[in-house]
């Protein structure tokens, strides 16, 4: 909880301050939408390793973090990235080679886990996954869970409905709360204190923020707090949850940011192509991540022409008619 009036800082400083070796982190967005990509690239650039990542379906960002060698453990519902990579390619390789220890949940379960963390309860129940291997197979062993004070002893617990037949339900699955050390979000608008306005789908961003000890917000625009407070019912995250505010135009690129820009099909498919081969992937990272100082450097490489193509149409919020083949 942080009530300072001005939390604006550079992205490099925000990442250095709040993301440490071994941190438990989550990122906002979903597959090809509003992933905090500038922050992801900065984590890779700073060489922060051994992260524990909590993900529902955070495709693009999670795959780059895994590919950048930053991730040791991952609890995840879905590693896919739309058409360019139905299964995220570096994620797929890391699991097949055993270089990342993984635990599988469903999307609703991961959402409930963030929600439980935001609420301050140890778990929440659901009727999902009874009879499946999500219940039966544990990626993290009992011993590993026992040895790590930041992990609950159980992946999940199946329980008889303690209210008997109430709600016509015999059993529930209890999923444990998540409280990340840091959650990183990219939003359309924030003020200097950290109050956020998200346009379009919110995915799990709000719970991911409220569950975290620290929240880094990158935004398309820093706006006057008084402006946001004219319509406070449209603000989803009040400043009390936020630790750092960073102004990063195109901060979700190459994923989309509703009413600002679409996803870039070319960059996503170039990334997918490179990700299939270790040499090509190293060249990709050298060019787009290590080879540039910051996100503006990456945008300069991409070029104004490509960015113009994905500019959002004010009517639809996306780039109407964009060639997505």
């Amino acid at each position: 909880m942080d009530v300072r009036a001005d939390k604006v800082m550079s992205l490099a400083e925000a990442i250095k301050t709040y993301v440490k070796e071994g941190s438990h982190i989550s990122i906002g967005g979903f597959t090809i939408n509003r992933n905090p990509m500038a922050a992801v690239y900065e984590i890779i650039r700073q060489g922060i390793k051994n992260l524990h990542v909590y993900a529902h379906s955070n495709g693009t960002g999670v795959d780059e973090l895994v590919g950048g060698g930053c991730v040791a453990k991952i609890e995840i519902a879905y590693g896919g990235n739309g058409r360019a990579a139905p299964t995220c390619i570096r994620f797929k390789q890391a699991i097949q080679k055993g270089t990342v220890v993984h635990e599988d949940y469903s999307n609703y379960q991961m959402s409930l886990r963030f929600h439980a963390g935001a609420m301050g309860v140890p778990f929440l129940p659901t009727r999902s996954s009874l009879g499946t291997d999500i219940v039966n197979k544990w990626g993290f062993s009992r011993q590993m869970r026992k040895d790590d004070s930041k992990l609950p002893d159980d992946k999940l617990i199946v329980m008889d409905n303690p209210f008997g037949d109430w709600a016509n339900c015999a059993k529930v699955v209890l999923v444990p709360a998540i409280n990340p050390d840091v959650t990183i979000l990219h939003v359309q608008k924030a003020d200097r204190q950290g109050t956020c306005r998200i346009q379009g789908l919110q995915f799990c961003d709000v719970d991911q923020a409220k569950a975290a000890r620290n929240v880094i917000v990158t935004c398309e625009e820093i706006v006057d707090g008084a402006e946001l407070r004219k319509d406070p019912e449209y603000n989803q995250i009040p400043f009390i949850h936020v630790s750092a505010v960073v102004h990063v135009p195109y901060g979700a690129y190459p994923s989309s940011c509703h009413h600002y820009y679409d996803y870039d099909p070319t960059q996503l498919s170039d990334f997918a192509k490179a990700a299939k081969d270790d040499g090509a992937f190293k060249a990709y990272l050298d060019k787009f991540v290590y080879g540039v100082r910051d996100h503006q450097g990456l945008l300069d490489l991409v070029g104004a022409e490509r960015l113009a193509k994905i500019k959002a149409d004010p009517r639809t919020g996306y780039a109407t008619g964009l060639d997505r083949k």
Binding site: Y78, K92, N136, A170, Q202, C204, S256, R324
Partner: protein, 253 residues
């Protein structure tokens, strides 16, 4: 009229959607099927996505459930908690038909979208459940898209990601799940359904020009083919909807 098997798959699935259904929709061909149904047999169906968008206008075909194209002119844009609660809640959930896909399916409709081989060091890793396990757990009926290949119809799935009928009749109820389950499997060769008593998969319709034997040759387990009839080919108006209204850019088809 000429058509591709992929077009027929989308049409066969679209015909399963009833007017007034709430359609839980994934990516790819399931989106095409749901959109086609809205322009054909189910104009009052409501398409929604796990990302939280309900009744999107879908002027352009989305390529992912988080594509900004699902947000345009939707009734509301919430989040994942809203979307899954819509299915877990019996008031709305009982009206939902899901459309799913998987890497493997067994004779009881149990699906694997997680991995092949050892779970810890898999031969092939897939995306994982996403919302599939939630949908399969919650809704009274769902359609599954599959490619008809032996390895995709194994006796036992390598990892049971999303529940079908589990061990057969009564399996879901014994596990504590809501009743319901898969109503149809739509493949590139046929449509399969599940026997009311045993909950085992059987061949319901084979596509024009495809023999029931060819279908059996592409499955590891055997199914009853005695009730099978030929599927109706797509009509000119169904094809027009697919090609001119739903996917004119031919992004999915």
């Amino acid at each position: 009229m000429e058509y591709t098997l992929r077009e027929l798959m989308a049409i066969v699935a679209a015909r399963e959607i009833k007017n007034g259904d709430i359609v839980f929709c994934g990516t790819g061909i399931s989106m095409v099927a749901a959109m086609a149904a809205k322009h054909m047999n189910a104009p009052e169906s409501v398409i929604f996505f796990e990302t939280g968008a309900i009744d999107s206008a879908l002027e352009e075909i989305p390529m992912a459930v988080a594509d900004p194209r699902v947000m345009y002119s939707a009734a509301s844009c919430g989040g994942l908690l809203d979307a899954f609660a819509t299915m877990q809640n019996r008031i709305t959930g009982d009206r939902v038909i899901g459309i799913l896909g998987a890497a493997q399916i067994d004779k009881y409709g149990n699906m694997n979208s997680t991995s092949i081989g050892d779970y810890y060091r898999p031969k092939t890793r897939f995306s994982g459940s996403g919302g599939a396990c939630d949908v399969a757990s919650f809704v009274p009926r769902y359609i599954i898209f599959m490619q008809h290949e032996k390895r995709k119809f194994p006796v036992k799935v390598d990892y049971l990601t999303s529940p079908g009928y589990l061990g057969g009749n009564g399996g879901r109820e014994r596990a504590g799940l809501l009743s319901g389950g898969p109503s149809a499997v739509v493949t590139n060769l046929a449509m399969m359904r599940f026997d009311e008593k045993t909950k085992e998969m059987y061949l319901a319709n084979y596509y024009p020009g495809i023999s029931p034997q060819k279908i059996l040759d592409n499955m590891e387990f055997s199914v009853d083919i005695s009730k099978a009839t030929e599927a109706a080919p797509p009509t000119a108006s169904e094809l027009r909807v697919l090609r001119e209204v739903v996917d004119p850019q031919r992004i999915i088809l």
